[in-house]
Symmetry: C2
Subunit: 336 residues, 2 copies
């Protein structure tokens, strides 16, 4: 029995065929293998949402997840926050020669488990194998397609002064989990990655609440970069209250030691929501009823701004106000 991936596994011949049969078809439980070069699916809506992401997280196994789970949740969440119902996902693997086949199996099964949980089908895939030293163990690209049933569900053009900014839980958990998994940093914490699929939560919100203007998952670049982008792209300004931003003590502690700023650390299972002031409580009630968003809270409000280009501000505990910018320069590579 072969225990490691060889270059021949990526050549499209006999070994590729066996690998696909033994690991992928079984794990992804393909009932109906179309045998075509492309997979087919029926769309229930004419408007579709599409997103793509490559995952290069290091290490590939970390507290709370692995690169496989992350590749599903990350792509599911990009669709979910865009107001789509995620339906199908493709998975492209680039694997280093010598990679242990049992680890590949673990990762593929982790993807399969999360896909079932998020109710998406992994319908097409690809495997490439490159020589030792030409890729760092394993990278995964996932591309997701979702259907948009109500194109008016999100209305960023209605954002107005007084709208609330709600965050679904603590920030920085994923970033610190990755740091602690990189043992060379000598950091030991109990923090696990928050990586989780948010689509059931977002679908519930969009079904039950009118007045959700925008949603976004604050991943790479963290909460600060995400909000700066939204402010600039959609021309509104936000004032955050530093005291209201939920951060676990261990995350704060780790950041203090290592010199990181939690506002810029990646999250992989959080959503930030801009909502009509009248619907704030409805949103909070729904979020508090889902396990992964039960720590949801209001963190700020849309404020007046004299310029067209929106800005992000944060009021500190002593009452001063500072402007926040996009992440600039290098913080933490290979976080997702």
């Amino acid at each position: 029995m072969v225990k490691r991936i060889s270059l021949a596994h990526g050549e499209g011949g006999e070994l590729t065929h066996q690998l696909i049969q033994d690991i992928f078809i079984k794990s992804f439980n393909h009932q109906q293998h179309t045998l075509l070069d492309a997979a087919l699916f029926k769309s229930t809506s004419e408007t579709l949402a599409v997103t793509t992401d490559s995952y290069v997280v290091k290490p590939i196994f970390f507290p709370g997840g692995d690169i496989g789970k992350l590749a599903i949740t990350g792509t599911v969440n990009d669709l979910a926050v865009s107001g789509a119902i995620p339906k199908v996902i493709t998975a492209g693997f680039i694997i280093e020669e010598g990679f242990p086949i049992n680890e590949l199996k673990t990762i593929v099964q982790s993807m399969a488990r999360e896909a079932i949980h998020a109710e998406v089908s992994i319908i097409a895939g690809d495997i490439k194998v490159v020589e030792k030293g030409c890729v760092d163990s394993l990278f995964i690209n996932t591309t997701g397609i979702g259907v948009i049933e109500d194109a008016q569900a999100l209305q960023p053009e209605k954002i107005q002064v007084g709208d609330y900014v709600i965050l679904s839980g603590t920030i920085g958990d994923h970033g610190v989990a990755i740091l602690s998994a990189r043992e060379e940093l000598g950091l030991m914490t109990d923090i696990v990655s928050d990586c989780a699929s948010l689509n059931h939560v977002t679908q519930n919100l969009l079904k039950k609440v009118d007045g959700i203007r925008l949603m976004r998952d604050p991943t790479r670049g963290g909460l600060a970069t995400t909000l700066v982008e939204l402010c600039e792209d959609f021309h509104f300004s936000v004032e955050l209250d530093e005291l209201r931003i939920p951060i676990r003590q261990e995350v704060e502690g780790a950041c203090d030691i290592l010199g990181f700023e939690p506002m810029y650390l990646a999250n992989e299972g959080k959503v930030v929501i801009i909502v009509d002031a009248n619907e704030k409580d409805a949103v909070l009630n729904i979020l508090k009823n889902h396990e992964i968003t039960k720590e949801a809270t209001v963190i700020g409000q849309v404020v007046a701004c004299s310029e067209r280009k929106g800005k992000l501000f944060m009021t500190t505990p002593i009452g001063s106000k500072r402007r926040l910018f996009r992440l600039s320069g290098l913080l933490l590579p290979r976080i997702c």
Copy 2:
């Protein structure tokens, strides 16, 4: 002016934002940047085809193309041979720290040019940067979505003894072009890669000819592996005539010197078609009218086979018949 990709370009902050604006948005000519985490598109059919591929070709520039052009043609062709009309493509880049920005620009522009030619839109993308030594220069994943307007256009279940096997042109050109670009092999030829988008040809065929049973592009694993897979998956047997398989003299020469078998070398702009005997001439006429398929010819026929599992045979110039199998073991890594 920054000349090389740095890790910060992949962190989702200010530099990522600039890179996307300067290179991707401009080259891909995004008229309507949705500003959402997912791109939206309207489907003209409820049946969609989806395919994904990662491109790790080495070197990234080769005679007749580059990794960017290949990433578009390869994904367009997988949709095309499945009977779909390619519509949208996503592009995920994994880039090595230090990669020259002008080379990235060349590759992105090459993708843009081929996308225009193939009439597909590149609607979503992702950039990850990894440390020097953690990826070999640059890998691209493309995922394509196409619409299937007539689900009955391909009818593999009707394959019968006497059906013809047509090949759209010479084999092995891409494989030998890559070999010659890897200068260390000391091989000099004038052969250029055949990489080309086949969708206009396949759409024309499906519109004008009834009786096309199956199409496939013989890429990784070559013509032999592709036909063995079709025979096994769809339960029919094929007898090829070795003398009828078009191979350029330079390709044959290079294979003789290096010990490669052209039947197993990758092609990136060829299609093999199984067609009802009555429609053979109609298919050939159409193929001969397209520049990239003008050397099309019949290479074999579907033959009777006693077993359910189909087999591939080839009659040699001296009249003997030998069975061909899938590519087994290692031939030529990083061909696409």
